[in-house]
């Protein structure tokens, strides 16, 4: 349930935005990058709980998903997380869930075996947009 800590990060970011823009109603679009494997229902529950506890019931948070794409810095090959995910056992995937960057210890370029790849997109959680309503 470490999703809670990330939900709180999102709520704080929106609260900061509202404080700066003196608004009480706002909408944020949160993107969940595939590599971090956030459990969306746990995350939504946490968001709801935190928003209520902080009296921020007028904040709406939309959730989008982004697939994870890697690009090898050595051979240029590009691939999706879904392709390499099969090779990971559940406990390795769980460790990447906590710190997505440690994927460099578990995932290799399917073409040249290099661990030197870029996480082009879909690393983890980020806020695409916040606007006041």
């Amino acid at each position: 349930m470490h999703e809670w800590s990330l939900a709180q990060a999102v709520v704080n970011a929106v609260a900061d935005y509202c404080a700066r823009n003196s608004c009480k109603e706002a909408e944020a679009v949160v993107v969940l990058g595939e590599l971090q494997q956030i459990n969306a229902s746990v995350f939504k529950l946490a968001l709801k709980e935190i928003l209520e506890a902080q009296n921020m019931r007028k904040i709406k948070i939309k959730i989008e998903r982004e697939e994870a794409v890697f690009k090898c810095r050595v051979c240029g090959f590009q691939w999706n997380f879904s392709r390499t995910k099969k090779g990971l056992n559940a406990s390795d995937a769980e460790l990447i869930h906590f710190i997505p960057d440690v994927s460099h210890a578990y995932i290799r370029c399917p073409k040249c075996k290099s661990p030197d790849f870029e996480i082009v997109k879909g690393r983890g959680l980020w806020i695409k947009e916040i606007k006041s309503l």
């Binding site: 349930m1 470490h2 809670w4 800590s5 990330l6 709180q8 990060a9 999102v10 704080n12 970011a13 900061d16 949160v30 460790l95 906590f98 710190i99 997505p100 960057d101 440690v102 460099h104 210890a105 578990y106 290099s114 661990p115 030197d116 996480i119 690393r123 983890g124 959680l125 980020w126 806020i127 695409k128 916040i130």
Partner: protein, 244 residues
Amino acid sequence: MDARLSVIDERLAGIKRIVAVSGCKGGIGKSSVACSLALLLSKANYRVGLLDLDFFSPADHIMLGVRNVFPKEEKGLVPAEVAGIRFMSIVYFIEDRPAALRGIDVSNAIIELLAITQWHNLDFLIIDMPPGIADATLDVIRLMKRIEFLIVATGSKLALDSVTKLIKMLKALNIPILGIIENMRIGKSNAVQESAKTLGINFLGTIEFDYDFEDCIGNVDALMKSKFVKQLSAIVAKHKGLLR
């Protein structure tokens, strides 16, 4: 927008003091000092956290003989407790695998760790820094506004050259420096003490080269009885105002 940055202050809010043990050069004893200091403070009944930020040569888990523990998932990750110290390290996540991490990955992993680690209330968070003035050093400076540096150096010309650069940068940024500890002294040179003077930094004391230190690694009781820890303990006692 990186939401994680909005929660880091809150994660650190229960921590009274954050001390980064650094020295720019590798192999000068940063990890040895960081672990020993954490043990000493814990033994003096302070609540202590230890964060190993050297992702390539993480050493603290070996030093403390950490085995078969993992943080507890509870509104984030609550560090495992080891010899009374709340301990966080990249080894929980990579174990003994080689991890090819470019600077951007190191930075992202540090931000993630700071955003999800629940230290709760601590008197001290000791950070074991990697060598260099790269992503890890720049990120702790950027993300932990209350950070203080404890500098380790050896008397070697090579180590003094690197540490001087780090100190110059910290001073230019007005970041508090607790002082400098000379480590692994063998001869009689006063080079570290003189450098401290020239740089206007508190010289805290000397830890001599301890020929039996290697045998204590991995065993907390043995470490606590080592000459190394005894000398560090004397330094801490001599500068009581510094760490409390």
